[in-house]
């Protein structure tokens, strides 16, 4: 009986094409959106280089800019075309290198003069005339401008020092708190996992249970000898299978398309995400217990998931929130889950490395379970 129920639930889930589409559309949308912005091939836009010089220095500059892989470099435009394309937003900036830029006057052999009285006269330093390249930038694009001017400034400063034969005296070194290569995409990937599992579970369960109750399907079930637990368990397991598929798709896209850096065990990561799915399904039951109609369940589900999406730390670290707000939102169900997910994926930590996170997640699971057992009814009397 239980297996028939489970099988029927899975069948219905697969046949409900529209719901299935959105269950995958949402995580896919986020994966691709953030992947293209911040993943492996993400560039900050295109910079046109109009190089009129054939000097070594100008060539080196163009090479360096290309190698830095910060921007896509476009070399086939003239400066007026480049200006027009900046205005139209096709490219973000242009660099014009004038003819002769980087040509150094021929070095004459140093002539040291020794006067008859023994005085040594050093050769006069050759004065190199000032040369300027031009950065064409859009003042509205502060981040790009800072990046491009910073890059160019650093390149030219080093060049100036070398030409003058000066030594670099004041330097700095970087020490990273962990030696792992991480990008914003890696941060967001764990967020997308948590977010997708939360959205489809909370709203999915809340809406389907309310709808079943509204249509009296739940009541009809209670007229049969099927125990309530079997009915609910079949529903939960079939949805967990959907969650598993979502998680697999998100991770596959992250790893194979956008070169996400995952340092922990992928299976542990999946396990933690599934724990989250269970927690959010239980929250779905809590909502279904509290709402009388399907519309109310939908509204309540959205009212809970949307703020949690921002306050739980899907898109940015919640540590940057004001202290008082952080001290509250760190206990939201999504926050500790994301901390565990990020710990596993970015640092290769065990989910138990910070037991507080597991405690909070478990506490939510227990609380939601108790509440649902207490309040959730199959009929609406």
């Amino acid at each position: 009986m239980f297996w028939k129920l489970l099988f029927a639930d899975i069948k219905m889930m697969v046949r409900n094409r529209q719901a299935l589409f959105w269950a995958f559309m949402f995580p896919l949308l986020f994966s691709f959106m953030f992947g293209f912005f911040f993943g492996k091939d993400a560039k900050n836009g295109t910079v046109a280089i109009v190089n009129h010089s054939d000097s070594q220095i100008s060539t080196k500059y163009v090479e360096a800019l290309e190698e830095a892989e910060i921007y896509k470099v476009e070399k086939d435009l003239d400066i007026d075309e480049a200006r027009a394309q900046i205005k139209s937003g096709k490219i973000v900036a242009a660099v014009e290198i004038p003819e002769g830029f980087g040509d150094l006057p021929e070095q004459k052999a140093p002539q040291v003069q020794i006067l008859p009285n023994g005085q040594v006269i050093m050769p006069e330093k050759v004065k190199i005339p000032e040369q300027k390249m031009k950065l064409v930038i859009d003042p509205g694009n502060a981040q790009i401008n800072a990046g491009l001017t910073g890059f160019t400034d650093k390149f030219l400063s080093q060049l100036n020092l070398k030409i003058q034969g000066a030594d670099e005296v004041f330097l700095f070194e970087e020490e990273k708190t962990n030696d792992k290569k991480l990008s914003y995409y890696d941060f967001i990937l764990a967020g997308i996992l948590g977010l997708s599992v939360m959205n489809s579970s909370v709203i999915g369960i809340a809406v389907s249970m309310s709808k079943y109750r509204e249509d009296k399907i739940l009541k009809r079930i209670t007229t049969t000898p099927v125990p309530t637990w079997a009915f609910i368990l079949a529903e939960v397991i079939s949805r967990l299978m959907l969650n598993l598929a979502q998680i697999a798709v998100i991770l596959a896209i992250g790893i194979y398309m956008f070169d996400a850096n995952i340092y922990g065990n992928v299976y542990v990561l999946v396990g933690v995400a599934m724990l989250g799915a269970l927690l959010f399904q239980l929250l779905g039951f809590v909502i279904a217990s509290l709402s009388k109609t399907t519309d109310a369940a939908q509204g309540m589900g959205t009212a809970i998931t949307i703020p949690m999406m921002f306050l739980g730390g899907v898109f940015f670290p919640i540590d940057s929130l004001p202290r008082w707000l952080f001290s509250i939102v760190q206990y939201l169900p999504l926050s500790p889950l994301l901390r565990i997910l990020r710990g596993v994926s970015s640092e290769g930590l065990s989910p138990f490395s910070n037991p507080q996170n597991i405690y909070i997640v478990s506490a939510w699971i227990v609380a939601a379970l108790l509440f649902s057992v207490w309040k959730f009814r199959l009929t609406d009397e």
């Binding site: 129920l5 219905m12 007229t223 000898p225």
Partner: protein, 286 residues
């Protein structure tokens, strides 16, 4: 519910008749174990409705008022799923054939008409070959033809030896289908008996309905109507209904009416509706 008590006998069709909100569905749900009664006790097939709920659920079939079924399962699959709930193994096609839904076996519930949905809902309550079938307003909202169709279905189920308890607010339906009826209002049972006895309990169980389109002999007319109460049928000037208390009076009034040479004459019984009006002082509204 207010202090009600009744028995349903094996093999009969028992009807709970009353307006919306009279407490018919609540009564059924208490019997089916879906609701807890605040006091009193219910026995189903000799079993205590609370203690032996699981055994009872295995032996009864329930059709709920306006209940839907799963959207993305085919009719055949729903029947099979419900069979599995009882561990029974019924031929789903045979059940669907019984309600003329064989061709729809691979369709979803959404694609059914109102009458088909009701028929499906009834047949879904038969998957466990129940001893008692509870039908909650099985024909509400159906057109007259579909309703008649369902009456046939219900009588077929009765012929299979099942006991049927149904609720309805259609007088005609109760009269046609039920062996015994309890009339309910505001949680109380106002009257309960065999259907024909109930109707005879009506204040004026006999009626003569006649139409006279020519000039009426006022003397004879006055004599005839002394044996009962006469009124114009819903304001029709030439259509009279004479309601009569006793058989003797009927026998005396009838020849007098015939003397009036009516264009049309019908002798009939009071209906359940007449009784209902006698009992509650109002007509039933949908």
């Amino acid at each position: 519910m207010d202090d009600i008590s009744f028995d349903v006998y094996e093999g009969e069709v028992f009807g709970l008749l009353g307006e919306n909100g009279a407490g018919k569905s609540t009564t059924l749900e208490i019997i089916e174990g879906l609701r807890r009664a605040t006091s009193g006790n219910v026995k189903v097939l000799g079993l205590d409705s609370r203690r032996d709920q699981k055994t009872i659920k295995n032996k009864i079939g329930v059709q709920l008022q306006s209940s839907a079924y799963y959207n993305f399962l085919k009719l055949k699959e729903i029947i099979q799923l419900f069979c599995s709930f009882y561990g029974s193994d019924v031929d789903s096609m045979q059940l669907l054939r019984m309600v003329d839904l064989e061709e729809k076996a691979n369709s979803y519930v959404n694609s059914l008409s109102g009458g088909q949905k009701q028929r499906f809902s009834i047949v879904a309550s038969l998957v466990n070959d129940p001893e008692i079938v509870f039908l909650d307003e099985p024909t509400t909202g159906l057109d007259p033809l579909a309703r008649r169709n369902l009456w046939h279905l219900i009588s077929e189920i009765k012929q299979k030896g099942k006991t049927i308890v149904l609720t309805t607010h259609y007088m005609e339906e109760a009269e046609v289908l039920c062996d015994r009826i309890a009339i309910m209002e505001k949680g109380k049972i106002l009257a309960m008996d065999d259907t024909h006895k109930l109707i005879e309990q009506s204040e004026n169980p006999f009626t003569i309905s006649f139409v006279i389109e020519h000039k009426v002999d006022k003397k004879i007319f006055a004599k005839a109507v002394k044996f009962g109460n006469v009124e114009n049928l819903f304001g029709k000037q030439n259509h009279f209904v004479l309601r009569i208390k006793t058989k003797e009076n009927l026998n005396k009034a009838l020849p007098l009416v015939q003397k009036l040479n009516p264009d049309s004459i019908q002798v009939g019984q009071a209906t359940l509706e007449d009784l209902f009006i006698d009992l509650t002082g109002k007509t039933i509204g949908e």
